[in-house]
């Protein structure tokens, strides 16, 4: 019953947070200097004052802000995010289109950086202060100080320009529509962005796992295991992995929002048509419905990610279960 309550509280909290994100973004948008009518009509077309008034009246721009929020939020709940002014299509359609590519990128990054980072962290912790440890650690620290987009540019210089192995941009070859692209080609274009993002996210997991591993190896129970004559394999298997996996998983799920941020940069460097490059287009083009739509969807993703990570640690870790 306690567990049920805990899950319910977290779930309610998640819903409240999503609603708050809607409120905050809406407030920002309403108070912004961007004129929605001019955005809608686009430059070049002149609108008379009467026409302006008519549009404003039709859209309900003259209503109070709270009324407008109620209407907007109501249509959000019905799945209507409005129409994108740069793509001239429903926001939801645009997002659906782009989300698949983005998810492909992020899931791969997620899995790869999780596994590689964890293994590297274990190795570093096990062979602490060796040359291997010091080298990997230095590389990790350098990567934490490196902007994602610069790594992307270096990747382009090395693999695309100098070696000619990968294309410079566009996840779809010119002259082919989106539907005709083979799966192979999509993957081929995603490789460099995935490598870039993975490189950026490995250090986080690896450095954390390293310090956890060291902590576990210095613990009394490992000392006792050594005294019992357990060999190294069984110590790593029974003690180190069991005690370091949970923090690593928690960190991985907690970095959901950072991976999203990183993918915005990577997608732009590699002109990969995902949510990240779309939100930049929307921002530069003043496309408010699309901007809000992507932000809210992103926030929902992140909150669900955090919720899942809470649940996971609840089921994996008996200590957390005791605490509630």
């Amino acid at each position: 019953m306690k567990i049920f309550n805990y899950i319910l509280t977290n779930f309610v909290k998640m819903i409240v947070l999503v609603i708050l994100v809607c409120i905050v973004t809406f407030t920002l948008a309403v108070n912004s200097p961007i004129d929605p009518i001019r955005q809608y009509v686009k430059a070049g077309v002149t609108v008379t004052v009467e026409q302006r008034e008519a549009i404003a009246e039709y859209w309900g721009l003259n209503d109070s802000k709270i009324e407008r929020f109620q209407k907007w939020f109501d249509s959000l709940l019905h799945g209507n995010f409005g129409e994108s002014t740069i793509f001239r299509r429903g926001v939801i359609d645009v997002i659906k289109d782009r989300a698949v590519s983005s998810l492909f990128l992020m899931i791969n990054t997620f899995v790869l950086s999780g596994i590689l980072g964890y293994i590297l962290g274990l190795i570093m912790g096990r062979y602490r202060d060796s040359i291997l440890d010091k080298t990997i650690k230095t590389i990790c620290i350098i990567f934490t100080a490196t902007p994602t987009f610069w790594v992307g540019i270096l990747m382009l210089i090395i693999f695309s320009v100098e070696l000619g192995l990968f294309p410079i941009g566009f996840s779809v070859p010119i002259g082919i529509t989106n539907e005709d692209v083979s799966f192979y080609e999509k993957v081929y274009h995603a490789i460099l962005p995935i490598i870039t993002l993975t490189l950026i996210f490995i250090p986080n997991i690896a450095l954390h796992t390293r310090s956890k591993t060291i902590e576990v190896l210095q613990s009394d129970y490992v000392l006792f295991a050594i005294a019992r004559g357990e060999n190294e394999r069984s110590i790593v298997k029974n003690h180190v992995i069991k005690n370091t996996a949970i923090p690593a998983i928690t960190i991985l799920f907690g970095s959901f929002s950072e991976i999203f941020g990183g993918s915005v940069l990577a997608e732009n460097v590699f002109s990969y048509p995902g949510l990240g490059s779309t939100i930049v287009q929307a921002g530069l083009g003043g496309d408010i419905p699309l901007l809000l739509g992507i932000t809210i969807i992103t926030a929902i993703f992140v909150f669900v990610g955090n919720f899942v990570s809470d649940l996971l640690s609840l089921f994996i870790n008996p200590m957390v279960r005791e605490e509630i």
Partner: protein
């Protein structure tokens, strides 16, 4: 930074005779397609980054200390409120939040400073909240309260010596994040205007010339940014060593 301020526009002026030069002794980082010296542009850009980073992280740290302090001393509902605000800021990816703000506030340095300041206070606020909560219930604070010392005395003699070092460390560690976000947002086209020298601008311009093999336009400015960030991180680590009495003794 001082050096960066001294660099006048003349040094970065276009010189079409020597355009697209690779690095040499007279131009350590080479020149770009307008013949501007990349070394001076980079230093100037780093200087701009440092200025913006400093302002943004100072503002952000002030937010952090107010929020953290309130959460640690006020009744519980304030604490709950702060926690929800923290979850909210953590929920929207920082980069997207900064983009949102810079779109709605207007592009340029102002947008970046506000965006970075509003997103980076979270971790420091948490630290300060925990410190304040902990100190408030320490034995010596309780005793000092029993001795009839007022709130101001406790604040001055018990809170400040514990919280201040944490604040300084947090501020220094926030700085690289602020700079990296500034560069990223500028790179995406939301930050500083294209005329200003900024690492983000230099790198996004260099993207257009990658295919023609102008690798030096991208490599050196980026590398200098990385080195700057590493140096500040090192500074933060050393400060931690100096200011944290437990670590100093080791």
């Amino acid at each position: 930074m001082v050096f960066g301020t001294l660099i006048s526009d003349e040094m970065m002026a276009a010189n079409f005779k020597g355009k697209n030069q690779f690095p040499s002794l007279s131009h350590p980082f080479g020149t770009d397609w307008l013949g501007r010296d990349m070394f001076f542009r980079t230093v100037k850009g780093l200087r701009n980054s440092i200025v913006i980073g400093t302002i943004a992280s100072l503002v952000s740290s002030v937010i952090a200390i107010i929020v953290g302090g309130l959460a640690g001393t006020m009744p519980k509902w304030v604490d709950d409120f702060v926690r929800i605000a923290i979850d909210l800021v953590m929920g929207i990816p920082h980069l997207i939040f900064i983009i949102l703000i810079s779109v709605f506030v207007g592009k340029g340095a102002k947008g970046i400073v506000i965006g970075v300041a509003l997103t980076h206070w979270v971790s420091l606020a948490r630290v300060i909240r925990n410190e304040v909560l902990q100190v408030r219930n320490e034995q010596y604070v309780l005793i000092s309260r029993r001795f009839g010392k007022n709130n101001w005395y406790i604040f001055k003699n018990h809170m400040v010596p514990i919280v201040l070092p944490q604040y300084i460390i947090g501020l220094v560690l926030m700085f690289p994040h602020a700079i990296l976000h500034e560069a990223s947002v500028t790179f995406l086209g939301f930050g500083l205007s294209p005329e200003t020298a900024a690492i983000g601008i230099i790198l996004s311009e260099s993207m257009k010339y990658l295919i023609s093999g102008m690798w030096h336009l991208a490599v050196f400015p980026g590398l200098s940014l990385v080195i700057l960030v590493l140096l500040i991180n090192k500074l933060g680590e050393n400060l931690t060593l100096i200011l944290n009495p437990y670590l100093t003794r080791e």
